[in-house]
Symmetry: C2
Subunit: 378 residues, 2 copies
Amino acid sequence: MNGDTLVQSRPATRSGASWNFGAGPSRLPDAVLARAGDSLLRRAADGMAAIERPFAGTTFREILAAARERLARLLGVPDHYRVLFLAGGATHQFSAVPMNLLDPSSGLRRAAFADSGYWSRRALAEASRYAETTVIARHAGDTPLAVPPLGEWTLPPDTAYCHITANETADGVAWPAWPETGPVPLVADASSCLLSAPMDVSRFGLVYASAQKNIGPSGLTIVIVREDLLHRPASMAPLPFQYRLQAAEESCANTPPMLAVHLAALVFEWIEACGGLTAMAATNMRKASLLYRAIDESGGFYVAPVEPGHRSMTNARFHLGQACLTERFLDEAEAAGVMHLRGHRQLGGVRASLYNAMPEAGVEALVGFMADFAEQHR
Amino acid sequence: MNGDTLVQSRPATRSGASWNFGAGPSRLPDAVLARAGDSLLRRAADGMAAIERPFAGTTFREILAAARERLARLLGVPDHYRVLFLAGGATHQFSAVPMNLLDPSSGLRRAAFADSGYWSRRALAEASRYAETTVIARHAGDTPLAVPPLGEWTLPPDTAYCHITANETADGVAWPAWPETGPVPLVADASSCLLSAPMDVSRFGLVYASAQKNIGPSGLTIVIVREDLLHRPASMAPLPFQYRLQAAEESCANTPPMLAVHLAALVFEWIEACGGLTAMAATNMRKASLLYRAIDESGGFYVAPVEPGHRSMTNARFHLGQACLTERFLDEAEAAGVMHLRGHRQLGGVRASLYNAMPEAGVEALVGFMADFAEQHR
């Protein structure tokens, strides 16, 4: 029986619904999707839809300011930080961060990295094109996977910043606590975890996150930066990458990705209406626990390679004890409506992304499918 | 009588409709706006809306490939060019172009610029941060405005490329013909004119255009680049700026701005259904002629500062003979439903942007208002 036949013959999930477990772009909250058409695409009495308005006009500026304030409120961003809405994805920040934070004339020519997996190595590779780099911490062992040891990190005196990947989207590894870096600003790529739970921004010099996980559509990245870091020269940074300029121009030094900003604004409203980040975290914890328990209690049919305390709440990674069943598992999952479970192409296996907009019913459908599949193939 | 009172008391346009003459983001075609909700935001049978799908999945890849092919067909892009869909706006390309096209190790360390107005100077200022620059041509006189003289341009032997702004969005100036640059690749910022009329891409080494004029929403820029230019080293370019990489990865070296790509795809379909770029040009010519005639025949009440042969078809700039009436004109225009006519903040006066999606009825409303206003205040 080939994959196509399987796809035809399998029923949908028990509930009949379909769920996208892809790593991003991700599901939008139902309430946001329901409002988006009217909010973005319907022409108002003055003949203009939101996406047709000038970016310098009061309507868009008010939406942008409200989104910025709501995000700051949700996260409790301290007053001495600035929130920027920039075009592009986290990959743009892999170069923008060193371009903005290095300051060779003050002796700050080095970027330190903790190597916790695929995306921290991607960020490191890009920074190496602009900076001296040091890998300051790396997990020693192979399995179970974990973030590097947290102990005292001794950073070279020319270190401009220390970068961590707060949640490794591909590896499924998350930091159980933040490292101490003394006076060196800690920078976090929080793409796949920002807004999934409270985050103490004051522990960081800079936090960035692409939108297509918990925030909205692709094409937008949030940067939260401590004001004192805006005084570094950024002499090589392309104009739209310059944090100081974008902060001064309220993210409008050039035309911002307005449609994505509009959608992000709706998502922030939804999170607030749901009870904020504490409520998000509670739901996300229940979803992750349900899935990891199904893995751990499968008697080795499913295996999670990450050490329990370091498991990502948003990107749960596992593989099948019998690796030869993986393709069949993925095919049947698609047909059963639990979709896009294939692991990152560099790592293989299975990955279920459980971002904010994934309801508990989706995770119940997934563990239901996993139980059925295990029973059939054990 | 103050501005607010005027705003309250004026009627809308004769037709009752309102029209956005802003320089961008601009109006979307009615047919595109009508389809956008269903195309982008409605969940399909598999439970996913277009904006929720993985960017690496077949659905999005097919939409992207179809958009690329349709754009290439509309413009008649030769086979030895590549079409890229990149995040951000034209401002990103102000640095991406020198970062990709300079090749110091082959002696190509210079960028030549024709200074035709505000945006060519912005592009020049940004390129000067990465390249030796030369202004190769500049319009000598003050008024009437025009593009620089076309005659033979002698480019220094270390010139990597020569940059023109095909249509000056702020100054309202357009090139009546393209300059000859011999073996040096000609590069055009065509943000405000691409797809408003046919364009012979084979005359250029590279053409770029931000989307928020004739293509769709902000956050997306089209780059059309001749393949031989992809072999230059781009050693300083941030990864998502690297043309060779993005060409190899079909614009998906990192997550692209999917929502904007979806909308652009709908706009390309609309242009094709309308009869393509020849049809666009015919309509745009009628719209521009109607407006410029109203200006030229106003007996000096309205004045167009640009030489007739160099007037932009998409961004018509003019001022009032009695400059003291400008604010009143702009206030009453807003109230009358002909909106966002204020000239660029650096240049003042009035500007009407007549992109593809502005119907002739909008321009008729504008010239009707202008006639009424002139009659009242002459």
